[in-house]
């Protein structure tokens, strides 16, 4: 559990593992989120908000995977047509 180790080593109540590094990462993360990507530059989004949006985004993606799995399951049920269509669809990207 190397993670735990370094966390407690610098414990002064806060996880001060180079605030700058974390802020940097938060910014990168923010740019990945569709919600926050086009926020006004001057308005610095708080780290907690970024993390919150990240959670929401991940949940959405999970839900989409669930959804698409269902649809794929139905579509793949008829295999004869599916085989050809499968290959076809991905080759025509």
């Amino acid at each position: 559990m190397s993670g735990r180790r370094s966390r407690s080593r610098q414990s002064s109540g806060t996880s001060r593992i180079s605030e700058e590094q974390i802020n940097d990462l938060i910014i990168k993360l923010q740019q990945l989120l569709p919600e926050l990507r086009d926020s006004r530059r001057s308005d610095k989004v708080s780290a907690a908000r970024v993390l919150q949006e990240t959670c929401n985004y991940i949940r959405n993606l999970h839900r989409e995977v669930d959804d698409l799995s269902e649809r794929l399951s139905e579509l793949l049920a008829n295999t004869d047509t599916a085989q050809a269509a499968l290959i076809r669809s991905l080759l025509t990207q």
């Binding site: 919150q52 991940i58 990207q93």
Partner: protein, 158 residues
């Protein structure tokens, strides 16, 4: 002051890599006769979902990422028992306690905890690593979603 470690690399492989892995998984499923047999639809869906996550983990570099490693390990353990990402059923009662002390770092840590529940393997990571893994995870997830969407679109009757 900030120790310049290696720059955080969040490039993910191309979409074809994800597509290829997913197709392989699907064809494996087909070989196991998953699609022909009159199974309960639910089972089929779960198998496809699992194939999606596993192929995504493989496409993303298998064991080179903490989250993909955790994903693969989890999948290997429950070969028969299919389970969604078991989020620790922490009731979110501790979330927005209307306390005056809105310590920003505390809030941040709370959200980080939630994130840990969502990202596979997150429980063992420290915060900065968690954020890095999350970025990569998000990219791979959206790539996987795109691949699946293309498949669905391609297979849907015109």
């Amino acid at each position: 002051m900030a120790s310049a470690d290696k720059p955080i690399n969040t490039d993910v492989p191309e979409k074809d890599v994800f597509a290829l892995h997913f197709l392989q998984s699907l064809s494996n499923l087909r070989r196991q006769n998953t699609f022909n047999s009159p199974e309960k639809t639910n089972d089929r869906v779960k198998k496809i979902k699992k194939a999606a996550y596993v192929s995504m983990a493989r496409a993303a570099g298998g064991t080179s990422r903490l989250w993909s490693r955790a994903l693969l390990r989890r999948a290997a353990k429950e070969t028969n028992k299919v389970v969604r990402f078991s989020r620790r059923k922490k009731r979110v009662t501790w979330l927005r306690r209307r306390s005056n002390r809105r310590d920003p770092v505390e809030e941040e840590e709370k959200e980080a905890e939630r994130l840990r529940n969502l990202v596979p393997g997150g429980g063992a990571m420290e915060t900065s690593k968690l954020i890095e893994e999350t970025a990569y995870y998000i990219k791979c997830l959206s790539m996987q979603v795109k691949v699946m969407q293309c498949l669905v679109d391609g297979l849907s009757p015109k």
